[in-house]
């Protein structure tokens, strides 16, 4: 039995203290220790992107990190996007443009898109498609995800 480590995660501005094995996947810690189950696991090998979150404002795969590695970083998950009942522009755009069907990949796409648009508010269409190709969706054929993110790009311009 490997010793458990004391880890403190900061997620959506809130601190979560936990004792976890070194192997505890960051995504699992977010889901189970923090109780934030909006971050989904679709492949656990970094391809599908359902677990994408923001770490210090940049998109990362939370299935390819261990919880202990995220100590000291500011994590953001889908639960941190809306302010109460007011949806974040990216969420509103996905709703308006039918950018989701089953909703399983949605949190990962929302966080990916938020990270990409925050880093590069004027991102061009071609680069945007390239960036969004990081995540898989099986329902929408990506058509309305792209439409939604383009709409959010306009809304989120500073």
């Amino acid at each position: 039995m490997t010793e458990k480590l004391d880890v403190t995660l900061s997620v959506n501005g809130k601190r979560y203290e936990m004792k976890v094995e070194p192997r505890r996947m960051l995504a699992d810690a977010i889901r189970e220790e923090c109780g934030l189950t909006g971050t989904h696991l679709g492949c656990e090998h970094g391809v599908c992107g359902a677990c994408t979150i923001l770490m210090d404002d940049k998109p990362v795969r939370s299935c390819l990190m261990f919880a202990v590695q995220a100590e000291g970083a500011e994590l953001r998950t889908v639960e941190g996007l809306a302010k109460g009942n007011e949806l974040h522009p990216i969420q509103q755009a996905f709703w308006d443009h039918h950018g989701l069907q089953c909703g399983f990949c949605t949190p990962g796409f929302l966080m990916l898109a938020t990270g990409v648009l925050e880093q590069n508010p004027n991102i061009g269409d071609e680069e945007l498609v390239h960036a969004l190709s990081s995540n898989l969706c099986r329902c929408t054929g990506y058509q309305n995800i792209l439409k939604a993110v383009k709409a959010a790009r306009e809304e989120m311009k500073p």
């Binding site: 696991l41 809306a82 709703w95 399983f104 995540n135 099986r138 054929g141 058509q143």
Partner: protein
């Protein structure tokens, strides 16, 4: 204002967008983990299973009280298979569950599972469909000597005479490689034992909670009532989540055994290797044409690899029987000779996958049409014009009845939108520059929204079909509709709310749709086969009509008017042509709290209706313009057009979304996805690095146009739309690639048409030329 036809945003989206959805794994946090130890070999005899000391591990020897899964089909030379919940004495495919580990966490369960040692005597497996049909092939099941589990044939009496008169015969040999539906959420089963009642609740990501409950209760020998099956938020299904699997059964069994809360959350590797596959088919089809290029007879030999076991409850007849009955598709045909077989192999079992056989059979027919067009020197549109059905209703050679559709119109419109003539000029110019463009069409129809009468013809012991809706308006005037269908991302709740809203004159936001919980919904068949909007929609309409009559009666009483003159709209009831109105909420309140005033019909406002039609045929033309890079074999889809007819659009936004998703799965089928077995039956594509669903970069903008034929075959006038998107793309894209490669004489007959395959054909063609 009518709600039907409006692209209103979906009602459940805000919850999903905020990360507050409840998928099974979210509910299962904290449950004990189940990890299955799976067979690493395709076929063999289990000599021993060594279990690490102190570990909680179950094997076949521990579960002798569970009956095997035994789906039944009547007739069709069907040979039943008994699928054990844990492999018993022998293993029959890589990935088959052999033992089950229970541990406090998933990580620990995996640690223990690695230490369970399987001693298996390896036997030669049957893997490929054609190899399995050879006389000396290994026998997958003793009771099926030729490895055929289902076989049927048909030959029209006039076939031979007509065939003899053929001016041209075109033959295709179509090979469709194996796919995995690959929903984003993998399968799972979270079973919770309730100490106070002794009941078990199974949360599971399925499309059809009621039949799943029946199947589990049957093999466990327990009353169905003691099992509650809940499909919470479901992350896509596409057919993969509509068959009962051993894992669900085991989860319920072990929850009862240990009186505990347990969870199996399938990982992606398990999903790819051991969840249902599909589309592994080989069609040999010959078509006879008269001198006017009219199809006069069709001969087909259809072989479908159905894997190691028949699936419950649909059975392994699903692909071979669909392939046989629907092969002629939108084309007029009077003489047909066909043999279809479901062939068992030591591979993962098959289940329906969005489109079921029709992507493959459409590919067969549409390749024939293109080859025949070349033979007759006709362009592909004219070739099809001479053969598409234009008069309805049309009774097919296999006995189906086509309601009205727009088979020819959809093609004609497609050729117009893509400017076929202009394209040919562009294509010519491009070829001169060494660039290879091609155009391809794919016309098809799709049986959708079918009920018991149609399913009954298939001979399944468990015959699905009807859908029931129980509706109640509460005293506050809000409506609850409990449905047997089980949507999982389609937005059915929104569509049904629109239908009900129009009947009752209230806003969709006042309607709640309850689905996916056997404790809370009437027995129904779930969501699959492009059926839910037609069936649950029809039943919702009928239940709402009854509700409207009740409300009219109460309103008539309160407004002192004959009920038949009452109109419900904008949240109020009024007498047609008269002043004065009463709020519908007031009617609801009165129905419950002043029931003594109204007599007859009893207090409250509850209705129930069942809808069970024979079905309706949707249709579409898909077309693609592609560019092939002849050096690499890469195919770029420049344009993809869908001209479709699914009757009235209840919610156009949702309809387009369904088409988008289906088309991309179809593109994946045509160009990308393939489950690959080696000759020993090991799967080489167990990760998403190897099984490759396309990303946004590989997908073109999908253009959509709608035709809206009004049909009497559906009481909402809506036809099914769920599967159509997946059906057309392989044929459209493969025809387009073949068109692009005309200068090399390359014709494609295999999907996915991967770059290495295309490049290989180009290289061989170049060799032949020189």
């Amino acid at each position: 204002m009518k709600w039907v036809g409006q692209p209103i945003p979906r009602l459940r989206d805000p919850v999903l967008l905020k990360g507050k959805g409840r998928f099974t794994a979210d509910i299962a946090v904290g449950a004990m983990a189940i990890r299955f130890v799976r067979s690493p070999v395709a076929r063999g005899t289990i000599c021993g299973i060594e279990i690490p000391e102190g570990a909680v591990v179950f094997t076949a020897a521990d579960i002798t009280d569970i009956k095997p899964l035994r789906p039944i089909l009547h007739g069709r030379n069907y040979v039943p298979t008994d699928q054990p919940i844990l492999a018993n004495k022998r293993v029959t495919y890589v990935g088959e569950p052999v033992a089950a580990v229970i541990a406090a966490t998933q990580s620990e369960a995996e640690d223990i599972a690695e230490q369970v040692m399987l001693d298996i005597d390896v036997l030669d497996p049957a893997i490929d469909v054609d190899e399995a049909l050879k006389p000396d092939a290994p026998r997958v099941h003793d009771q099926a000597p030729g490895n055929v589990l289902v076989e049927t044939s048909l030959k029209t009496p006039g076939f031979d005479a007509v065939w003899a008169k053929a001016a041209q015969v075109v033959e295709v040999d179509i090979r469709s490689r194996r796919q995995n539906a690959m929903p984003m959420e993998t399968r799972n089963a979270h079973a919770v034992f309730d100490h106070s009642t002794g009941r078990v609740t199974l949360y599971t990501s399925v499309q059809n909670p009621h039949p799943i409950r029946t199947g589990i209760a049957d093999v466990l020998g327990m009353p169905e009532t003691d099992l509650r099956v809940v499909a919470p938020d479901v992350g896509g299904g596409f057919g993969q989540k509509m068959a009962l699997v051993p894992e669900y059964v085991f989860a319920v069994w072990v929850a009862r055994k240990l009186e505990a809360s347990v969870a199996w959350i399938e990982d992606r590797n398990e999903n790819l290797i051991a969840s249902f596959h599909s589309r592994d088919q080989h069609h040999t089809v010959k078509a006879a044409f008269d001198e006017n290029a009219k199809l006069i007879a069709l001969e087909a030999d259809l072989r479908c690899n159905v894997g190691a076991y028949s699936n419950y409850p649909i059975t392994c007849g699903v692909e071979p029987l669909m392939a046989m009955s629907e092969l002629p598709g939108p084309y007029d045909l009077r003489e047909y000779s066909v043999r279809t077989r479901g062939v068992t192999t030591n591979t993962c079992p098959m289940a329906p996958y969005r489109g079921v056989s029709r992507p493959v059979l459409t590919l067969s027919m549409e390749r024939i049409m293109n080859l025949a067009a070349d033979r007759f020197g006709l362009d592909p549109v004219e070739m099809r014009r001479r053969n598409l059905i234009t008069e309805f209703p049309y009774k097919t050679v296999t006995g189906s009845l086509y309601d009205a559709g727009t088979y020819w119109e959809s093609l004609e419109r497609s050729a117009e939108v893509l400017d076929l003539k202009g394209f040919r000029e562009r294509q010519k110019k491009a070829r001169e520059e060494g660039r290879y463009l091609g155009i391809g069409f794919s016309v098809f129809n799709e049986r959708s929204g079918y009920g018991t009468p149609t399913f009954a013809a298939r001979g399944m012991e468990i015959t699905p079909g009807y859908e029931t809706v129980e509706m109640a308006m509460d005293p506050s005037g809000y409506v609850i509709a409990r449905i047997g269908a089980s949507p999982h991302g389609q937005g059915l709740e929104t569509g049904l709310s629109q239908i009900i809203a129009d009947e009752l004159g209230i806003e969709p936001s006042r309607i709640r749709i309850i689905s996916g919980d056997t404790d809370a919904t009437p027995y129904g068949w779930g969501t699959f086969a492009s059926r839910s909007l037609v069936l649950a929609g029809g039943a919702s309409k009928l239940a709402a009509e009854q509700m409207r009559e009740r409300l009219n009666k109460i309103a008539g009483h309160l407004l002192q008017a004959p009920p038949e003159e009452i109109e419900l709209a904008g949240g109020v009831a009024r007498r047609r042509g008269h002043e004065g109105s009463v709020e519908i909420t007031a009617l609801a309140r009165a129905a419950h709290h002043q029931s003594q005033l109204f007599g007859g019909g009893g207090p409250g406002l509850t209705t129930i209706a069942t809808y069970d039609p024979a079905g309706t045929f949707s249709n579409a033309c898909h077309s693609a313009i592609v560019e092939v890079d002849i050096e690499t074999g890469h195919v770029k889809i420049e344009r993809f057009l869908v001209v479709e007819d699914a009757g009235i659009l209840i919610n156009p936004m949702i309809v387009d979304g369904q088409i988008h998703g289906g088309v991309v799965q179809g593109i994946a089928n045509a160009l990308f996805e393939e489950i690959i077995y080696d000759e020993t039956g090991n799967i080489l594509t167990g990760s998403l690095m190897d099984f490759i669903p396309p990303t946004m970069s590989e997908v073109p903008t999908i253009e959509i146009e709608h035709l809206e034929t009004l049909t009497d075959a559906s009481i909402t006038k809506a036809k099914g739309i769920g599967e159509g998107g997946t059906i057309g793309p392989p044929a459209a894209i493969i025809n387009a690639i073949s068109d692009a490669l005309k200068p090399f004489g390359v014709e494609i007959f295999e999907i996915p048409a991967t770059p290495p395959r295309i490049r290989q054909l180009i290289r061989e063609a170049a060799k032949e030329k020189s």
